[in-house]
């Protein structure tokens, strides 16, 4: 993986996913190491994302690397009209690796073609956010002891949610059975279902959240956002149908875990937080170990 870009989750193979997850487990056992000493990593956040940026910077600091960058493009030359092309050309002179978040889709791919150092995509618009996918996979592996043959429920906005799309792409390598639960307006796009057909995987689609829950190994919740609906009345009608409450978890498998990329708004009721099934806050912590694994394998120190 040395010097490889991580722009899209499909840039990595199944073996590489597993290698990253194995390394993440090592970092979880020993989260303070100085293997990135002497390395400079640039975090370029052209749009703000506190959670992702802090997670990357915590990972870099934990491994004794140094960070340069910005957390909002308002304070940079981008606001003077500098192109992404030029910003990346300049920064790749200073840093050993660039972590970037940008509002435009495809920006990270372009950066990877321009940059002389590897690019890790920390989100390009609604397109890809591969480190999120790897931390989701790490959370699944940690709680289920395997990635193979699981039943994963994806709930909420399956049309625009990039996290579910990338997770679907990655988990399709592990003989997963998918259950897509969403309002009609926000169904999983045909492209992804076609991909599952090609892989020979089973999937189910439905509108009712509770119907098949006892079979679930993982429930992956996403936010149903009002701005996705052209008709506000439609939104009012569906918004409460995709809220997970504690009583709905009765009868589910003991090992079943609820994941959510966060931030949540109201789609998981706070009474789920105390349930042993709730895993979304642990999931966020796993992000640091996974990002340590991504950075150190791309820099070739692990």
């Amino acid at each position: 993986m040395k010097n490889k870009n991580l722009v899209s989750i499909t840039d990595f193979t199944k073996e590489e996913y597993l290698k990253i997850l194995e390394l993440a487990a090592e970092f979880e056992k020993k989260p303070r190491q100085d293997i990135l000493k002497g390395y400079v990593i640039s975090t370029l956040f052209f749009e703000p994302s506190t959670r992702t940026r802090l997670s990357f910077e915590t990972a870099i600091n934990g491994l004794s690397g140094r960070v340069i960058g910005f957390s909002d493009s308002g304070a940079t030359s981008a606001s003077k009209g500098e192109t992404l092309h030029d910003t990346i050309k300049m920064v790749s002179n200073y840093a050993d690796l660039i972590v970037m978040r940008h509002p435009l889709e495809g920006s990270a791919r372009l950066a990877s073609e321009v940059s002389s150092v590897p690019i890790v995509n920390a989100g390009d618009g609604a397109n890809q956010h591969p480190s999120q996918t790897l931390l989701d996979m790490y959370s699944i592996l940690k709680t289920q002891d395997t990635l193979e043959n699981l039943k994963i429920f994806m709930v909420g906005d399956l049309k625009y949610g990039r996290t579910v799309h990338s997770l679907l792409q990655a988990m399709s390598e592990f003989n997963t059975t998918f259950y897509f639960i969403s309002p009609d307006e926000l169904k999983m796009p045909a492209t992804y279902k076609l991909h599952l057909d090609k892989m020979g995987l089973e999937y189910y689609e439905g509108k009712d959240l509770t119907e098949f829950l006892p079979q679930a190994d993982i429930i992956y919740m996403t936010r149903v956002q009002q701005e996705r609906f052209t008709d506000p009345i439609e939104y009012e009608m569906v918004k409460n149908a995709y809220i997970l409450r504690k009583d709905m978890l009765e009868g589910t498998k003991e090992t079943m875990k609820v994941l959510h990329p966060l931030p949540r708004v109201n789609e998981i009721h706070p009474d789920v937080d105390e349930s042993p099934h709730a895993y979304y806050f642990d999931q966020a912590r796993n992000g640091v170990y996974v990002r340590m694994a991504i950075l150190s394998s791309i820099l070739g120190v692990k």
Binding site: S8, T83, L84, H85, P103, L104, E105, G106, S107, R109, L110, D124, G125, A126, N127, Q128, T191
Partner: protein, 151 residues
């Protein structure tokens, strides 16, 4: 009459692109950058055609295309036919086929794609040919047949 017809018809060596739908003739001209050529070109448009209603035809003297170049026009004129002319005779007939990759030519349908916001040459993988679907190399979104806009 006879003289007039002769002056625009036969070419000695070159390529005739026939069966171009009349509405896309000038798109074909632009895709193939024919305005850059200084060899003799004859363009006819809105000619009667049983198959297409109205068709366009382009005769290019001393020009021969590589498959990769000519296949680009399949995006707008999938039923176009090529006649290769040597010494006034048609020595070969070819049809166009949609290539596996498209570089340039097409605008990405996604307004939030980096290629619509910064000076970047578009690139696509052709994921379906029967009903054309192009997957953007950058934003990974699909541009389908109905949304293909030639740059």
């Amino acid at each position: 009459m006879k003289d007039k017809q002769l002056s625009v018809s036969a070419i000695r060596e070159g390529t005739v692109i026939d069966h171009i739908p009349a509405t896309v003739l000038f798109k074909v001209v632009s895709i193939l950058n024919l305005d850059q050529l200084d060899t003799m070109i004859t363009i006819g448009n809105s000619l009667g055609s049983e198959k297409l209603g109205k068709k366009g035809i382009i005769k290019l003297s001393k020009v021969f295309f590589e498959d990769n170049d000519i296949n680009k026009i399949a995006l707008v004129a999938p039923c176009a036919k090529l006649n290769i002319i040597r010494n006034y005779e048609v020595v070969e007939k070819r049809v166009v086929a949609i290539p596996d990759k498209i570089v340039g030519i097409v605008k990405c349908v996604n307004p939030k794609c980096i290629t619509n916001n910064e000076e970047v040459t578009t690139k696509y993988e052709v994921v379906s040919k029967s009903e054309v679907k192009l997957k953007c190399h950058y934003c990974e979104k699909i541009t389908d047949q109905d949304n293909i806009e030639i740059i």
